[in-house]
Symmetry: C6
Subunit: 78 residues, 6 copies
């Protein structure tokens, strides 16, 4: 994958940081299973299973920790 999809961890707001965390969590899946078709099928599985959704949320939480640290937890925001 030669696309540039991650040039900075800086975001303006915590919410954008959260959205970046979601992107980061999905990208590992994409790089491991490159077929969009298969990923779409798998989505049916995890989007309808409570534990799968919790696991997804767990990965987002770890990435959000990283993104928050990269932004000094947006402490300077007014």
């Amino acid at each position: 994958m030669s696309d540039i999809w991650l040039s900075t961890l800086k975001t303006t707001t915590p919410q954008e940081g959260y959205e970046l965390a979601i992107k980061l969590s999905r990208m590992a899946v994409k790089l491991t299973q490159p077929s969009a078709e298969i990923r779409q099928k798998l989505r049916e599985d995890y989007a309808n299973n409570a534990d799968s959704l919790t696991a997804v949320s767990s990965v987002v939480a770890i990435h959000f920790q990283t993104v928050a640290a990269a932004n000094d937890h947006w402490k300077d925001r007014p």
Copy 2:
């Protein structure tokens, strides 16, 4: 989702920080499974399963770590 739901990680008390951590843990689920109806059904599953609840608690714990760091662990509170 264009709503602003996360404008700061700052909270007045640790307890409010904990509540924010819960919100953060649920939001990834909401963004992955947008249907409120399906989420309500899934809630029946995980709210009645010990391991599912522990997994939910684990995600909250990760987010609480982030929120606590963003608030300097509320160190200046008397």
Copy 3:
């Protein structure tokens, strides 16, 4: 839940910090499954299953990390 149950992360000793970590890990369960009766039933499940207990211990470990950081790891204790 309008009760105040978490006003500070400060504890006098590491052991009290550990007890707070246990409280923090249980509170997410309580807030997700408010019925004390159901929680009591679920307790039978996880208290008698090795993997469930390990999972519980994992959540405590994450919270203990947060509480320890909030107390500077109790470094100033004699």
Copy 4:
């Protein structure tokens, strides 16, 4: 439990820190399942299951991170 079992996170060596991490991981199990007899039975389960042992090791890893931080990663050791 009124015993004092954790008065400091300081240890002389990393290895003692690792042993403390194991103690910390077991204590949450003990406090959740106080019966030594049941814990002994459960031990048969997880000590003979690869995934259970990996999960135990995961909890130890989180606690070791905390203990290492409490000891400044034993940086001044010769």
Copy 5:
């Protein structure tokens, strides 16, 4: 394994850091299961299972946290 495969955690961009995190997550698998043939077979399993992919993504997230810290979260980038 006497090859040098990890000489630095420094990367020029966050994206290269993410790629390093993926490498780090795979290397533990490689060192635990040295047979490329078996790993290839297992790949069929996890690349087609939603929860397996989420678990893989979780490991990447932990390593990305480490790599990001090693690069001061690439804060000096313009």
Copy 6:
């Protein structure tokens, strides 16, 4: 176990740090299941299961985070 197996978290290179993280992840298993014979049998299980290998990799990732911090992420290396 009276052997000294961990006297420092310092390593010369990140790769040696990664190898130490693997050692740390295995040691908790060893201390929980002291029988080398049983561990060897269990190895057959997890070394041939994708999810088990991912879980092992997850523990390594947590320990690598600790070892990297102990070495200031090997920042002064050229």
